[in-house]
Structures are given as structure tokens and as C-alpha cells.
Assembly symmetry: C2
Homo-oligomer: 251 residues x 2
């Protein structure tokens, strides 16, 4: 495609044309030259469920975003205590421009496809294309907000509130939500094992299991199988989560 004159506000997305979710993607109004420079270095990688994408401390020479599946960022202490510090859903960004080595373990929780860019060219484009950096700033600020909400959860919520919060958080970001919500109830498929939930919430997996059972017994949620959850009354769940600010979403 030949470069035409000054295009009228082209909204292009760095990651790729194929990535289904655009609204949170690293996006830019790039001209063709910029786009092609990125396209050159773009590539896809797939990971199987359970596979580690990068180990904390390892050299990480790419950045990217999750196209499909779910990955986590986790910190580990010497004695093995683990705390999840990031939950990466499709469209989320991975990697830090300007950093050499990974600061956290990145693990594929389900099968994951990622859209990657080698870091060096990406950084070059960031330096020359303000849009990219601006979008990245926006996304990083969102992540910081999420981290702070998460800190309240870790520091002050009870186990029951933590579980309710997690279910609400996942429900809010789950695509299935929009469909099911209109039918009066919210349905979620938990993409995490009980152990992963415990690492997210700062609990043991036994406590997670018990509190899920308790919420079921009290009618806050219904469970089919292990992972499929029906929320008959979302407001009730929010109440159980003890959320003050509900993330400004869906209430």
C-alpha cells in the first residue's frame, strides 16, 4: 500500500491485525513506515498450560501482549512462598521497556499465544513515536490501579472477601459476561486452579476451597464441575467482596 498524504487519524495497533482485542492493545496512530518497522520484528509464540514463559532473573529480550489464554506474574521467596503479582488476560502487556532481565516468573496458566516484539526495535519506536509511549503509560497506570486494589485485598480483606473479590474481578473481565448478564445472571469459568487462586489471594489452597464451599452453601454462587460458576446476584457478590470502590465497572 503506497503511502498517501497525511492520513486522517489512522488508529492502528502495534501488536497485530490478528489480535482480537484492540481496546487495551498498545495502539498508535502510526504512519506506514512506523508500522512496517514494527511488523518486521513482530512474531508469535505459543506456550502450553503450565509452561514457564520466563524465569525471574532471566534475560528477557522481548516485550509483547497476550493474544489468548492466561498468564501470571509470580514472585517466589527462597523458602518457596509464592505470591502472584500480575494476572495477564488477553490484550495485557508483558515486559518492561528499559529493563534487561525479568523481575518475575511469567507462567502460562492455560495455553497461551503471545504477540511479541524484540525489545530493542520496540524501544526505538517508542522513542520516536509518542503515541506508543502514551498508550503504554495509560496501560501502566491502569495496572498500578489494579495493583493498589489488590493491595487492599491482600492487606485487609478476609478470606471470604478475597474469594468473592476474585470471582468478581474475573467476571468483570470475562467476555462471557456481556452475554450472560443480559439474561439476569452472570456466568464465569474460573481460569485458575485452586492453587493459583491461593497464590493470587495470599491464602492456602485449602482455605480457598473451604471459602468457595462456604459461598456456595450460602447461595452467593452456584458451582457446576470445579470451575464453572454461576452468580445469581452480582450485587450480592460485590457486597460479599466488601468492595468500597467497585472499579467503576458494572454497578
Amino acid at each position: 500500500m503506497p503511502k498517501t498524504s497525511i492520513a486522517p487519524a489512522k488508529f492502528t495497533h502495534i501488536q497485530c491485525g490478528a489480535c482480537p482485542i484492540r481496546h487495551r492493545a498498545v495502539c498508535a496512530r502510526c504512519d506506514d513506515q512506523e508500522l512496517s518497522r514494527l511488523e518486521e520484528t513482530k512474531y508469535y509464540r505459543s506456550y502450553e498450560a503450565g509452561q514457564t514463559v520466563v524465569w525471574s532473573g532471566d534475560r528477557m529480550d522481548f516485550v509483547g501482549s497476550v493474544v489468548s489464554g492466561i498468564a501470571t506474574l509470580t514472585q517466589t521467596m527462597e523458602d518457596g512462598r509464592r505470591q502472584m503479582v500480575g494476572l495477564l488476560l488477553p490484550s495485557d502487556f508483558v515486559g518492561r521497556p528499559g529493563r534487561e532481565t525479568a523481575a518475575y516468573d511469567v507462567v502460562a496458566t492455560t495455553d497461551v499465544v503471545m504477540c511479541c516484539f524484540r525489545k530493542k526495535p520496540f524501544e526505538d519506536i517508542m522513542a520516536t513515536t509518542p503515541h506508543v509511549g502514551q498508550r503504554l503509560l495509560e496501560m501502566t497506570l491502569d495496572e498500578l490501579d489494579a495493583a493498589r486494589e489488590w493491595m487492599l485485598l491482600l492487606g485487609r480483606k478476609t478470606a471470604r472477601e478475597k474469594i468473592a473479590s476474585l470471582i468478581a474481578i474475573i467476571a468483570r473481565r470475562d467476555a462471557s459476561l456481556k452475554l450472560a448478564k443480559s439474561e439476569g445472571q452472570v456466568v464465569v469459568d474460573l481460569p485458575l486452579t485452586r492453587e493459583a487462586m491461593s497464590e493470587y489471594l495470599g491464602l492456602t489452597l485449602e482455605t480457598v476451597s473451604r471459602q468457595i464451599s462456604a459461598l456456595r452453601k450460602d447461595g452467593v454462587i452456584e458451582i457446576e464441575g470445579k470451575r464453572h460458576i454461576i452468580i445469581p446476584d452480582f450485587d450480592r457478590l460485590i457486597e460479599e467482596a466488601g468492595d468500597d470502590s467497585d472499579g467503576g465497572f458494572l454497578v
Copy 2:
């Protein structure tokens, strides 16, 4: 001291000439025009210890950075449980470009001087001056890292480890460190009450008090008065903090 000619390679900082700490400030290599645009909207505000700078949910039409003193970001649940989610030391940035209302209570823990810019002009400058956004991205990424370290602390560390971690964190950012370190021991003045510490750490203030006493009894720290702490062996403190990655600082 009279102002001399145009300094070579102007590294100017948005916040102001007076702000003592420059390395973490929102900095830019601005030309004179850009600088003057910012100068126009710059102003200082002082707050007394204990005073609330902004309430969560309030309109916040400025951004700024801490010049002196210490402020905190805190989240509160309906029933009054409180969790600190940000500790703002001199040079730290406050406020989120692109957001209308404050998401957290901002409280001056000590007397605080802040260097502020009205948000609208600041955002305009961000849009036209890439350096500013780039610096802000860098700072936000640092904050995100700090938040994730904090999440590990909240989710997995024992009360004793939390206290040791907090002392280490403050010591690392304390200016007095450099002097004292060279003399073989590290000296810190805790800028927080026991209650503020408990809100930082997700503990009660009684537990904070007890664990500080315990660390003193075990010789990890020495205490003069209530707030003045001497760390005879910083490595020992780090060990007590259970830190895996020690923030890449001072070890």
C-alpha cells in the same frame, strides 16, 4: 549567585528549580518555550502533618510532586479498615493525568510541601513534549515494581518480616543513609507513626509495636526514643526481611 549564560545540555526538571531531588523528578530536556509554559502554571502548596490533601472521590485538578515531607495514599473500606497503597517521599509524583477524581485519600503524614501544576496545562505539555510522558512512564513502572514487591510483603510475609522489610525500605530511600553507611551502621528516623506503619503493612498497631520490640530484643535494631533506629548490621536486617530480590540496591 548570579545566573550565568545558557548552560550546556540543559537538563531541566518540570517541577522546579528549588526541588532538591532531581534524579526521580519529572524531568525533561525542554526548550525555553516549553519550560515557560510550565512555569506559568506551577505553584506550591503546604500541608500540615495530619492534614488530608485530597479525599478519595474528590475532584483533583492538579498533579504534582512532593518537595519535602511525606504523604501517603490510603484506601478505606466502608467499615473503616484502611490499607496504605502508596508512600510518597520527596520527588515522588502525585496524581494521574487523564483522571478526574482522586482514587485514594492523600494524607500528609509529616508537614509537606508540594510542587503542583494544574492538570489541564500539564496534560497539554505531555501531549506535545515526549520527554515528559517518557519520564512519567519510567516513574510509573518503578511504582508498579514497588507495588508488586509490596504485594509479596502483604500476601506472604510474617509480621516480623514485614517490619524488617519496612525499615529496610525506608532506610534505602533515606538520605541519611549515605552518611551513616560509610560509618559502618545505618541510621533511620521512621517518618511514620506505629499506626501508619500498621496501615502500610496490613497489621494492627499492637503487632507492629510488639515486633519492633522483638527485633530490638534480638539485636537486629537499636532504638532511641520512639522513632530513631540504628541498624548495626544491614545484611542481618535484609535477612530478617526475607527478601529474595532486594530491590537491587545496597547489597
